[in-house]
């Protein structure tokens, strides 16, 4: 039997969630965030810590022990903040008994993220690259006044691209989650809310915020200097618009497939889940 204890602490707009998973025998568990916001997992050298995959954490509860998990999120606390969505017995209670020490080399997980996590991010530290701050919005928006060629790009660009890239994985995870939800539908009354993957919700929310910031910025510019320099935020908004259009095409295609028949049951449900995003995404794209 697996039990989950939790505590949430909120300060300065961030909720810190602490979870303790206890079990009467060793088992492998998957814990998923249930708060309405993106998960900010603990990171090592910029990569999510071992076990984190999008909104979910997978780990092993040791024999007569407890598994502790912590993460941050901008979402407001709720009960429960997370749920154990799957449990399977761990075959080997004392996994990896090899205490072999390789000369001065850390154990490296053979995945791209694992390599960077274990060996370090080779990219130049942020402080090493002088990027002036523009506007009152602070660290989120950095200008490209000093940048002269296409070789460089803004952090907003980076963020947008990273997000759209990581979107792929949560998408797969989201499919799995939908199935899980469907199986435990009886205990999950708010199924409709959970069908839209958290990654999609948080992406749309971020886009919304960038649009808000951009409209505020435009007003500022008109009142003040009047200079119409292309800012990092402007580039990010343009990228958002492109991404929204692309997502709309994709969703239209999927909806057409869903309506065209031949798609039923679990697949239909998944497509429907994606479809729920449809009215929200393009509508916001067209607003500007």
């Amino acid at each position: 039997m697996v039990t989950l204890e939790w505590s949430c602490e909120r300060s300065d707009g961030v909720t810190l969630v602490s979870l303790v998973v206890a079990a009467d025998r060793p088992c492998r568990v998957r814990v998923e965030n249930r708060l309405d916001g993106p998960v900010w997992p603990p990171r090592r050298r910029g990569q999510p810590a071992v076990g984190w995959d999008g909104d979910a954490f997978e780990g092993t509860v040791p024999a007569e022990g407890r598994l502790t998990v912590g993460y941050a999120t901008p979402a407001r606390p709720a009960d429960p903040p997370a749920e154990v969505v799957s449990t399977e017995p761990a075959d080997e209670p004392s996994a990896s008994p090899d205490g072999r020490v390789v000369e001065a080399v850390p154990a490296v997980e053979p995945t791209p993220a694992g390599v960077v996590r274990d060996l370090g991010d080779p990219v130049v530290p942020r402080d090493g690259v002088p990027v002036p701050e523009t506007g009152a919005a602070g660290a989120r928006e950095r200008g490209d006044d000093t940048r002269t060629d296409d070789d460089t790009r803004t952090d907003d660009d980076t963020r947008t691209e990273r997000e759209s890239r990581t979107d792929e994985e949560p998408r797969r995870a989201g499919t799995g989650r939908t199935v899980t939800d469907a199986q435990s539908a009886g205990s999950t009354p708010d199924l409709g809310r959970l069908v839209v993957p958290g990654a999609v919700r948080s992406w749309l929310r971020d886009v919304d915020r960038r649009f808000d910031a951009a409209s505020g910025r435009t007003g500022e510019r008109r009142d003040g200097s009047g200079s119409a320099t292309r800012t990092g935020l402007g580039a990010a908004v343009a990228a958002d618009r492109r991404a929204l259009q692309r997502v709309r095409e994709r969703i239209d295609g999927l909806l057409a497939r869903a309506d065209g028949g031949g798609v039923a049951g679990r697949t239909g449900e998944r497509v429907g889940g994606d479809g729920r995003v449809d009215p929200e995404g393009p509508a916001r794209g067209e607003r500007r």
């Binding site: 000369e103 080399v105 791209p112 960077v116 990219v123 070789d151 890239r165």
Partner: protein
Amino acid sequence: MILAVVGGKGGVGKSTVAYNLGAALDAVVVDADLAMADLPTGRGPDLHGVLAGRAEPVEAVRESGPVALLPCGRSLAGARACEPTALVAAVEAVRDEYGRVVVDCPAGMCGDVGLGLLVAEACVLVTEPAPSALGDALRARALARELDAGLAAIVLNRASGASPTDLVARELGGPVTTVPESTAVADAQAAGVPVAVHRPESPAAAAFADLAETVARACGAAGSVA
């Protein structure tokens, strides 16, 4: 075939070996030193652009020189904008198009060395007959083992007749090719061409041809086993 050229210590000749090996194997040489690139670059898309998602890996390959190159880019801002983990997919895309890729890994034991080894099937370990270089080579060797990049060959660079070739072969556990200290290598680097083009009769040119054969044999054997 994807081959990583590693060494641990800086200045032992990794880029020189990668470039000349690329020439002998007719491979694309990828300069994976994201922060401090060595191999020549020019105008057009580079690895920074590829890892930032702004260019396709294959379109960033320069075929104009004597050796096909995927140069890295040298601006700090470009390095900052990279997503280093994208290196794996980028190198694989170049391999799918060109067949053979030599990844010139940077010095040290940081993530970019690890990513080069992760994507590679085998590695070439470059070292010099000096205690500091050999110590770093041992660590690079251990990292390669950790990431499953088999050791195809060891290059003992700037070697003389008195160099401890047997000791190096035993300690690092692989076949050793010695590349003699020679002006032919330096001249060829300065001219921006492989030694085999610049001074085909030199012992260094013969050594690189030898190395290419050893590597091809090692990788061919690994391929047939798999």
